[in-house]
Symmetry: C2
Subunit: 218 residues, 2 copies
């Protein structure tokens, strides 16, 4: 498998799960901070121009949540995406809130220029304000929905590394990440796992002492 990723982007969730499941993989860096996802070469890989893309035996799969589920289904015995309707529903609900509400809001905060592009008369600070309000609101709702112990859906699942990545973004969105106590507990537990440490190291997101560092550019 080949994972196209950008350091610290939501592709990191897929990267963590590849490590977690010990699936042999190679990495191809497509640095969105340097607009490498906008090149013709990458558009040929993923026409929508987003990371991650997972290449498996010549076929390409896009969309973070689709890749997370696919990887979990390749190793069903590891139980990262159980098929039991109630448990799967909690995982699906959380991943949907992260991908459909939190992520679009984050994009507005961090790169309003990309959201607005050539449309005239829309101030970037207004887009940023909308994104910041919506990001905080959905994180408040997610926090309220989380259990007070264990991972997001009980046992460790694909929802947890995804939550970890979006939570790690909250400081760039202008929030004190500790504001969300249950989310912080889960994210820190994810962050301590060897698979997560390995993925962070491979994306150069830890310094020499092993402390997390932000991506060089977003």
């Amino acid at each position: 498998m080949l994972l196209y990723y950008s350091p610290g982007a939501c592709s990191l969730a897929a990267h963590i799960v590849l490590e977690e499941l010990e699936l042999p993989h190679e990495l191809e860096r497509v640095h969105t901070g340097y607009d490498e996802h906008e090149t013709a070469a990458y558009r040929a890989v993923n026409p929508v121009g987003l990371v991650p893309t997972l290449e498996v035996e010549g076929r390409r799969l896009t969309e973070t949540t689709a890749i997370l589920r696919y990887l979990a289904r390749r190793a069903p015995e590891r139980g990262l995406y159980p098929n039991a309707p109630e448990t799967a529903a909690r995982i699906d609900e959380l991943m949907s809130r992260l991908s459909t509400l939190a992520h679009p809001a984050y994009r507005m905060v961090i790169r309003p220029d990309r959201v607005v592009k050539a449309v005239e008369g829309v101030p970037h600070d207004g887009i940023r304000a909308i994104g910041q309000r919506d990001f905080g609101a959905i994180f408040d709702h997610i926090e309220a929905s989380l259990p007070s112990e264990g991972f997001a859906a009980g046992d460790y699942s694909i929802a947890d590394p995804y939550l970890f990545v979006l939570w790690s973004w909250s400081r760039y969105a202008g929030f004190d990440s500790d504001r969300w106590a249950k989310m912080s507990r889960i994210a820190r537990d994810v962050g301590r796992r060897p698979a997560t440490r390995a993925a962070l190291r491979a994306e150069a997101l830890v310094d020499e002492s092993g402390r997390p560092t932000p991506p060089e550019r977003v």
Copy 2:
């Protein structure tokens, strides 16, 4: 099961699947066109304030794509969300593009006032222009990814009624829906199914002659 829905909203996809699987259900109308999703009563049902919500044995599940998967898992023998990794991945990828890219763009087109809310200095027509550009772009990408025959992932799956609903929105977003030929073919095939007809009738989205009518208000 009890489905909270708004006529023609993305809750319609869940409604169609309830009919398709012949799962006994009741309906509770929460008309977003009249801001009924903003009431304290509905916020007590779904704190995020979106439709649909599915109530099952006193537990509540939110987020369209989570509900679609949940319903399919309740009737696995019907095969609306097969567990085979490759097939599921195609369904997941499409549902992610619809929910994370097409739907947020549509919201910008149709209700820029709700997107902007109290943030000052952001013109609604600018938000609408961003949404319209992004909606068209992701629909172009989805169109290119669809097969030239059959449903979106081969056999009929939960991705198809969801595609049907978002495709039916494209005319309100200012597009000629026929612009996307493969998507139109699939949507029309979904629209002809008895389960879809039943859901449209129950949401009062067909006139006396059986022709589709738009929701009274969005």
